[in-house]
């Protein structure tokens, strides 16, 4: 074999070789493509936020649905709809629904106060999300229990870059 024309054109022995880099990148893609863990195990920060909202009571994962896109291009305005299965009577109704974005600079986003007059526990709003994260909805029921739902959201353009 002839020697390389210049030192820079020869294959260097040090550093990762090309084949290994390609294989590594493929493995990285595979990891990224795996479905994100449905936040069964909430992060300690989120668990703390939830505990503060519910005053220590562990919320159940039932009777509440959080409708929010899984991928949003623009975190400045994200359509969100929350519905709780509840008869909304004087004896059994949803007192409030609280929305948390764990990685927003200010994690508490909004709280909807409802009552028996609502007829149905269904609200919608537009949110501002700083980055890809888990959005959590917690509802307080009139009997003192709490229910929650969460969703992982990928935000491609953060709400904290420009003035919008």
């Amino acid at each position: 074999m002839s020697s390389a024309i210049s030192p820079r054109s020869g294959r260097s022995d040090s550093g990762p070789d090309r084949r290994r880099v390609v294989a590594g990148a493929a493995a990285g893609l595979l990891v990224a493509a795996l479905p994100p863990h449905a936040a069964a195990e909430a992060s300690p920060e989120l668990a703390q936020l939830i505990a503060r909202i519910t005053e220590g009571v562990a919320p159940e994962r039932a009777r509440i649905s959080l409708e929010i896109p899984a991928l949003v291009e623009n975190g400045n305005s994200v359509d969100t709809r929350i519905a709780v299965e509840s008869p909304m009577t004087e004896a059994d109704h949803v007192r409030w629904i609280h929305l948390i974005a764990e990685k927003n600079p200010f994690p508490d986003m909004a709280r909807f106060h409802l009552g028996p007059r609502a007829g149905r526990a269904e609200v919608a709003t537009t949110l501002r999300l700083a980055q890809s994260q888990t959005v959590t909805a917690i509802a307080a029921l009139s009997d003192g229990r709490f229910v929650m739902a969460d969703a992982n959201i990928v935000v491609t353009l953060s709400a904290c870059i420009d003035g919008g």
């Binding site: 994200v78 986003m109 709280r111 909807f112 106060h113 609502a118 269904e122």
Partner: protein, 107 residues
Amino acid sequence: MTFNARITLPAQASPGEIIEVKVLTRHPMDRGGQSDGKGGTVPRKILNRLTATYAGEPIFRLDMHTGVSANPFVSFTTRAVATGDIVFEWREDGGATYTRIARLIVT
């Protein structure tokens, strides 16, 4: 005018019917903290509360923080009881309030 609101109700409702109330508000919802160019920061200026009163009784309240988008949209439901005004009142940081009234016809 930095504030404006569009309230959508059904044209009419029957007694006991559950109706959806949609409110689209025009407001910058300035979260504050940006530089004001003079070494300080801009204070937060958002609508922090929306209350709805129907026939003199509060039916809905929304506490908003910086996590609510600019020009926020809000929808909620209420049970139609009688023809009457639904009064919407927003409270802004700094103490300003805005009021809008929508009439619900119950037949």
